[in-house]
């Protein structure tokens, strides 16, 4: 979100901080056996998203189904200059089945950007991003933001099989080191990932953790972060209805200084302090 968007308009005019609009589909094609890549053309406000923020998409109805609520979808790429944003999604239910029917030129009602994204501390030199499943898409925009901030990234990307890894090319294009771990190769288990992380920490390549998409990999990073006093951020998923903090459907429990506190993922998150998250 641009800094200007938060400043009230000079002449009392209303200035929204999230855009609700009909975006135009530019591309919507499969990238592997499970995921599709959606690119839409939208307003500058909608395209001005930070990594980790999300959008609410009003998915068109696929044949024989009628999704009613909008679906939250994390940002995969934003280009404010070209006024474009990108999503990576897996066809899993009525909403994403509807999304898959969209063709270039068609419109998609969309609200965003929403929520709190990842924060990069300029003091960090090297960070680690650990993702699996939808987390591979959610972590993607970190690659460019870190490069712009002069922060090096090692991405550990986990999937069932090598051909299902996503975002590896994106991270490499932004100068990141990519380590892929897969179930098929027997490298994705928490013990092996912990060994990889300990190796990176020993080399001074982990000033902070960024993670999304795996509860057991979150636990590994939490225990390492606790043991070595390192910070971390996690992007969490939750079923949502409104996406704006109105309905209180997306609450999760967090550990805040030993007390269990409920927070709305859509407002307080979706990116949270990794140490507060309860996997």
């Amino acid at each position: 979100m641009s800094a200007a968007a938060a400043i009230p308009a000079a002449c009392g005019g209303f200035r929204p901080r999230a855009a609700e609009e009909q975006a135009e589909v530019v591309a919507n094609a499969a990238v592997n056996a499970e995921y599709r890549h959606l690119v839409v053309s939208c307003s500058a406000l909608a395209a001005g998203a930070a990594p980790g923020q999300f959008y609410q998409l009003l998915c068109p109805a696929p044949p024989g189904e009628a999704p009613y609520l909008r679906r939250p979808m994390s940002l995969y790429g934003a280009d404010p200059a070209a006024r474009r944003i990108e999503f990576l999604y897996k066809v899993a239910g009525a909403g994403t089945r509807g999304l898959a029917t969209l063709r270039p030129g068609e419109t998609l009602q969309m609200l965003g950007p929403l929520g709190q994204g990842f924060r990069l501390d300029p003091a960090w030199k090297q960070v680690v991003a650990v993702g699996r499943g939808a987390g591979l898409a959610t972590l993607g925009p970190l690659a460019e933001a870190a490069q712009r901030a002069g922060i090096g990234v090692t991405a550990i990307l986990s999937a069932r099989r090598p051909e299902l890894v996503l975002s590896d090319a994106l991270f490499r294009a932004r100068g990141a080191t990519v380590l892929t771990v897969t179930d098929a190769e027997g490298t994705s288990g928490p013990a092996h990932v912990e060994r990889l992380l300990r190796g990176l920490m020993a080399e001074g390549r982990c000033d902070a953790f960024f993670t999304c998409g795996s509860a057991r990999l979150l636990r590994v990073q939490q225990s390492l972060a606790r043991a070595f006093g390192l910070p971390g951020q996690v992007a969490l998923e939750q079923q949502m209805a409104c996406g704006l903090g109105m309905c209180f459907c997306c609450v999760r429990d967090f550990n805040i200084d030993g007390a269990i506190v409920q927070k709305r993922v859509c407002r307080a998150g979706p990116v949270f302090d990794m140490m507060e998250a309860l996997p």
């Binding site: 209303f14 929204p16 609700e20 009613y68 409104c242 704006l244 903090g245 109105m246």
Partner: protein, 315 residues
């Protein structure tokens, strides 16, 4: 230009459109200009600190959704110290929705929220998600009258009473609320409902039962507004499945003086603004000078051919 203002029990609203309690928070102000609304209505608060219901709290169904949020509440101090100052930046009157487990609790809470910055109280005596088996005060005339009478004695603010659609006695309940001193009735809360997941064979809501809202409920609640409007003289605020100006116009013709838009805002943040603009166009197209003239203007005598053109859909 049509005069869009309406009178709701001592309060004048710039227009008849406001959010339904539970579907609105300040976050909507990041997307639409809240100063355009007729009123703002808070999520229900209780004196007790409540965590809310187990997840999942929402389930999508045909034509709408089920919810069993369970009124998470941070209590009265939070309302006074955090919520009310937050809403000072907007001009529409602020309506505070309250709920309590007992008649006495309703009265105490009504007194506690009767402070500067609160324009009216909406008494949620109809939430299906906080009492066992979906029970609520508004299911019976006697319990409605008891709760409203005590609140009436406890506050000088306009008192709106939100009724439940989960009763066969809605006209009697409406009369009881009016007799006990309600300034307006909100008709209605959600319809008690449930859904089952056929993969897991589990209920689709953590609370098992919840409230149905969205377009699916509109014809039912519209009928209840009609029944209540025939039973009482206090203004009625229609609430149930309103997503468009046409929906709102139907509610006003059935007897509502104002409307609340809830679930529709979840999929279209501009729904309330579109309802306001559409109602204005509807009135202008028919030469109606004051929107208040729509209230109860349902025609029930036999129509001849010329009359039918008047009731064609809104542009």
């Amino acid at each position: 230009m049509t005069d869009l203002s309406v009178r709701i029990g001592g309060l004048t609203l710039a227009n008849p459109v406001m959010p339904a309690s539970g579907t609105f928070a300040e976050g909507l102000g990041e997307v639409i200009d809240l100063d355009r609304l007729g009123a703002l209505v808070t999520k229900t608060i209780t004196r007790e600190l409540r965590a809310g219901n187990p997840l999942p709290r929402v389930a999508e169904v045909t034509g709408g959704m089920l919810n069993a949020i369970g009124i998470p509440s941070q209590g009265v101090p939070y309302l006074l110290e955090e919520t009310l100052p937050l809403y000072r930046r907007w001009t529409p009157p602020l309506v505070v929705s309250i709920s309590a487990p007992t008649v006495e609790g309703f009265a105490t809470l009504a007194a506690e929220v009767s402070v500067a910055g609160v324009a009216a109280i909406e008494a949620n005596i109809s939430c299906p998600n906080i009492e066992e088996d979906g029970r609520a005060f508004a299911m019976r005339a006697a319990s409605t009258e008891a709760a409203v009478r005590q609140m009436r004695a406890a506050t000088g603010l306009p008192l709106w009473v939100k009724l439940t659609p989960n009763t066969g006695e809605i006209a009697e309940v409406a009369r009881a609320a009016e007799a006990a001193g309600a300034d307006a009735l909100v008709v209605a809360n959600t319809i008690l409902a449930m859904a089952i997941d056929l993969q897991t064979l589990r209920p689709r809501l953590g609370n098992v039962m919840g409230g149905l809202s969205g377009p699916a409920v509109k014809p039912i609640v519209l009928r209840q507004v009609y029944q209540c409007a025939r039973a009482v003289r206090v203004p009625i605020i229609g609430c149930g499945g309103i997503a468009t100006a046409a929906d709102a116009a139907e509610y006003m013709l059935a007897g509502a003086s104002a409307v609340q838009v809830g679930t529709a805002s979840f999929i279209n943040c501009h729904a309330m603004v579109e309802v306001i603009e559409g109602l204005a166009r509807f009135c202008e197209a028919r030469g109606i000078a004051r929107i208040a003239e729509l209230t109860g203007a349902l025609r029930q005598e036999e129509a001849d051919e010329d009359d039918l053109s008047w009731v064609s859909p809104a542009p």
